[in-house]
Amino acid sequence: MKSGSQLEKILTAGHFAFTGELGPPRGTNIEAIKKKAAPLKGMVDAVNITDNQTAVVRMSSMAASLFAIAEGLEPNYQMVCRDRNRLAMQGDILGAYAHGIRNMLCLSGDHQQFGDHPQSKGVFDIDSTQLINMVKNMRDEGTFLNGQEIDEPPKMFIGAAANPFAEPFEWRIFRLAKKIQAGADFVQTQCVFNMERMREWIKRANDMGLSEKAYILPGVTPMKSLGMARYMKAKVPGMDVPDYVIDRLKGVDKKDQADEGIKMACEQIAEFKEMKGVAGVHLMAIEWEHKVPEIAERAGMLPRPQV
């Protein structure tokens, strides 16, 4: 075991993993965390705790991860390169591990221009691939980025993000290969809507032996409404929402659109369960945490294996 996290145990035992997501509050409202955490308990193996997502200030992902642990969840602590330099990052990784955090997802982060402090200076001292490599060396070599020894190194199960859809498409798989070479143990993808492209991307990952080197968890996001689908298609960078997704939601009554969205997500999960090279799914039910039990149930993900 690299870190001994629940997520690592599930994946190494060959179970189909199921991860969720929790966005920290825009303030110190602990009740809001508890409210979001409650429906996730027992439904997912680990919960991604986002780090100032979309460059909007929220409670720090480390603090919220600790609250998640207190609520009985296993956090997947997210860290972006936008807000910290290599000193702050390494310091936080030490602190996170000492507090019992065992999974980490390493990201570039959305550009600050989109967020609530567009005048801020983006740090971007190192990039996400370099961050992955740094966390790996902290764990496996017991050294900081400068090569100096760590007094009791942090042992994280290391996650990377991948976007299988962005252009240049043929380069995406090499970028994945780089992140795995850098040290990613598992990979969570951008929300998948375009299944044709996803099948093709996974096939390439299999051909290159990448799905044997890291656990790949495609991202699944249930559409709440036709409006959400249209918004994601038009406004969210890097998001590939094919017309057939829009058409299918258009085809049902407005009041049934949420249910149709869940049905579509469950169909995707069913296909991923059978897909070679896929080790689980990452459910991003954006501001829809209370629906996770229903989705988990309908997707046949329950009960979660105990390892």
Binding site: C81, R82, R86, S108, G109, D110, H111, Q113, F114, G122, F124, D125, I126, D127, S128, T129, Q130, N133, M134, L145, A161, A162, N163, A166, E167, P168, W171, F174, R175, A177, K178, Q181, A182, Q190, P237, G238
Partner: protein, 225 residues
């Protein structure tokens, strides 16, 4: 070249409002090429300043001077006989030139009339684009001559990020994605191997004030100190 943009007129006017004799000092190099602070722009700014105070009782005096390069003491000496007549200097050079002017004439207050914006290129008359942030460890050999620090909004060394959008950067549809371009160029040159390897963290050498002394000049510089 270094590209600068003139400050808003009201900000300039306010910064010098307490002075009665102001010399507007232009620079004949980069800021002249980008049409911001050369001789012509010095003329325009001082005319505007004069005009804007016509109604006032005791109008200030505005002089004009443009030197070849404000970032060079030799050229700054050219105005040594006239600066004494003024109680403030308004510089239209880049940030480096403004500082050197202030350093050459430390007894006179110096004010900037421009915002220095970037090191860039001349795309067309009146159209300039940033290309370099002077990071101090140039990566252009790896990236096919496209700067990852400047042209990528996240200064990635192992791009592109997940937000790249059909050749555009996630920050703006009109901004090309640097890593999309890097991939395209290296692919055409058959040099994709360059970016297959993980690029290690950059050595940011622009975090402290930098000095360069060319080989062979050490002694001369030592003796002049």
């Amino acid at each position: 070249m270094i590209v600068a943009e003139r400050k808003p007129f009201d900000e300039i006017k306010e910064s010098i409002q307490d002075y009665k004799k102001v010399l507007v000092v232009g620079c004949g190099t980069c800021v002249a090429v980008c049409l911001t602070g050369g001789e012509k722009e010095v003329g325009v700014l001082s005319a505007e300043l004069k005009l804007s105070q016509k109604a006032e009782s005791a109008p200030a005096v505005f002089g004009e001077a443009t030197v070849q390069r404000q970032c060079d003491f030799e050229f700054l000496d050219e105005i040594k006989d006239i600066v004494g007549e003024y109680d403030a200097l308004l510089s239209m050079a880049c940030g480096a030139g403004i500082q050197f002017l202030a350093e050459r004439y430390p007894e006179i207050p110096v004010f900037p009339a421009v915002d220095t914006t970037f090191i860039g290129v001349n795309k067309d008359v009146g159209w300039y684009e940033e290309r370099c942030r002077a990071c101090g460890s140039c990566a252009l050999a790896m990236t096919g001559g496209i700067c990852p620090v400047t042209m990528c909004a996240k200064s990635l060394f192992n791009g592109p990020c997940g937000g790249t959008n059909q050749g555009s950067c996630e920050i703006n549809k009109d901004q090309p994605c640097a890593w999309y371009m890097i991939h395209e160029r290296l692919s055409k040159q058959g040099r994709l191997d360059n970016i297959m390897k993980i690029c290690p963290p950059n050595d940011w050498r622009n975090q402290t004030p930098q000095t360069l002394i060319q080989p062979g000049y050490e002694e001369r510089i030592e003796s002049s100190k």
